[in-house]
């Protein structure tokens, strides 16, 4: 995957350089969306891409991170770094009992259904728990870190902060994907029963990586809340489920660099097409159907197979 790595680095350089070159807030906005997609993609790749467990609660973790950050900053006046940490920790803590129960009881399709049930429940809670979430009205007035505004115009400063955050999350995910732990996670996806007979406690691996992925999704949600300055129950729902799902599926399960490439492409291309969120979802849906039908192992899988054949 040498070429894929080079492409990843080129994309990263473009990401870093784009707002500075163009010098407008709009480019910064596109960049922030790309970073959100990358953070969600690489973290979802850890649990779904590597182990094959379709944890639809990734949107729940994202939503929890967003709401915790929103509540912390607007109700309690907590500073940005702490709300980021609280959002991440809250999502991880929530995922612990969910994972403990789900990984002990179910596998495969039933696991996806359990996590979908939790996602729906959390969406309804956010939509109806008026005293805390203000229901469909959502929470607004979430502050952006002030020091960034003094340094950069518009969203550019926030974008650069996102680059650092994304870099940290992506680096940790990359380390795991490449490590012995990554090999075990891939083994879980291929043949979990066999892995157990080799002496591997698969439950512990699954739970750990699920909580870590939730932590990163929570971080992303908190980052998003401070970026948009408004959160509504939609953060728990379809759009934020579909993004990591489409990114990882189109890239190919477990294909780290392809995940980054697809995440950036899915954020940038619709912006240049001036597509609304509804059209974006249409595009995502069509892309998912097309890739799953024509390239069952995703773009990354197709590319790897092509390279193997050419050797």
């Amino acid at each position: 995957m040498k070429l894929a790595r080079i492409l990843g680095v080129v994309l990263a350089v473009i990401l870093v350089g784009l707002p500075a070159i163009i010098g407008t807030g709009h480019a910064g906005n596109i960049g922030v969306v790309a970073l959100l997609f990358v953070m969600l993609g690489v973290s979802f790749n850890l649990i779904f891409g590597m182990t094959g467990y379709l944890a639809l609660t990734h949107a729940t973790s994202f939503g929890l991170g967003a709401y915790i950050a929103a509540l912390g900053s607007t109700k309690a006046g907590v500073s940005f770094p702490l709300t980021l940490l609280a959002g991440a920790a809250g999502a991880a803590l929530f995922s612990l009992p969910v994972g403990t129960l789900a990984f002990r009881r179910v596998r495969g399709f039933p696991f996806a259904i359990v996590t979908l049930g939790i996602t729906i429940t959390m969406w309804i809670v956010a939509d109806h728990w008026m005293p805390v979430t203000r229901g469909p009205m959502g929470l607004y007035g979430i502050p952006r870190p002030t020091f960034l505004r003094q340094l950069f115009p518009g969203s550019v400063g926030y974008f650069y902060m996102g680059v650092i955050l994304t870099g940290i999350i992506a680096a940790i995910c990359w380390f795991i994907v490449r490590s012995d732990v990554g090999r075990v996670l891939r083994g879980i996806k291929d043949n979990e029963g066999m892995l157990s007979s080799l002496g591997v406690d698969t439950y512990r691996y699954k739970l750990s990586v699920y909580v870590l992925a939730s932590f990163f999704a929570g971080t992303t949600g908190a980052f998003y809340a401070h970026y948009l300055t408004v959160v509504s129950p939609d953060v728990f729902w379809l759009y934020w489920i579909s993004i990591p799902l489409v990114v990882v599926h189109v890239a190919g399960l477990g294909r780290f660099w392809a995940v980054i490439g697809v995440a950036v492409a899915l954020a940038v291309v619709p912006e240049y097409l001036r597509a609304s969120q509804a059209y974006q979802q249409l595009l995502f849906g069509l892309l998912l159907v097309g890739v799953v039908t024509l390239m069952p192992n995703g773009i990354g899988g197709w590319w790897a197979a092509r390279r193997r054949r050419s050797r």
């Binding site: 891939r186 291929d190 043949n191 892995l195 007979s197 002496g199």
Partner: protein, 240 residues
């Protein structure tokens, strides 16, 4: 008298009203090479599943090195020192051959006494003539090569007990010879083995003790020559 390596006492496993394994008791000593034979449906694989933790018996006790492992999770049983190869292909199709060996040793003992698993893994692959496939996904190997890989995964862990479930079934004659050579090497090295096979001449040529199961129960247990001449065995297994 030393403790047997494996001790099974009155183990019963039922599926509905059918006792697939019916009050089975046996013990296997260190270094023994035991053949486990019987007609299809006689309970051999169910008994293996009970030993390795894949199934939990309703009755009875299984002790390994004197320790009760009845109903323990498969990964705990594996960590005690029991490795198995499977009747059907059980591997990781998208992982490379080398990755399989790395996974097998990730939570086990040092690989073949060497410091790094990679060296041990390469050495083993070389012995099994799989070196040229080291970086290929297991899904690209032939059926027989995948069976060999299964044995390699069991062997590289240096287990105290190896359970081989029909290692040559469905394998072409050339690769079957490689598997038999590997089994013979293991059998003479002092490795404790339970060999489940339908190829009776092969089993008899490898083992020092033969256990015959029929309808979930043990009907004969002894030296292969004695067992072969047992009238009950001839009736139940050989059909005459």
């Amino acid at each position: 008298m030393s403790t047997p390596l494996l001790e099974i006492s009155g183990v019963t496993k039922r599926f509905g009203n059918v006792a697939a394994v019916d009050s089975v008791s046996l013990s296997i000593g260190h270094g023994e090479v035991v053949g486990l034979i019987g007609p299809n449906g006689s309970g051999k694989t169910t008994l293996i599943h009970c030993i390795t933790g894949a199934l939990v018996p309703e009755e009875g006790q299984i002790r390994f090195n004197g320790e009760d492992i009845t109903g323990a999770a498969p990964f705990r049983v594996a960590r005690k020192g029991i490795a198995r190869s499977f009747q059907n292909l059980e591997d990781f199709p998208t992982l490379s051959v080398l990755d399989h060996l790395m996974l097998a040793t990730q939570h086990g003992k040092p690989v073949l006494g060497r410091r790094t698993p990679d060296e041990g893994a390469h050495q083993l692959l070389s012995e099994l003539a799989l070196s040229h496939m080291a970086e290929r996904p297991a899904g690209e190997l032939s059926y027989g090569q995948r069976k060999l890989l299964g044995i390699a995964m069991a062997r590289i862990r240096e287990p105290e007990l190896m359970i081989m479930d029909e290692p040559t079934a469905g394998v072409n004659p050339v690769l079957a010879q490689s598997i038999v050579a590997e089994l013979r090497r293991l059998a003479t090295s002092g490795q404790t083995i339970i060999l489940v096979e339908h190829d009776i001449p092969l089993v008899i040529s490898l083992v020092s003790r033969l256990i015959v199961m029929s309808s979930g129960a043990i009907i004969a247990d002894g030296h292969p020559d004695e067992v072969r001449s047992d009238p009950d065995v001839r009736e139940a297994y050989f059909g005459r």
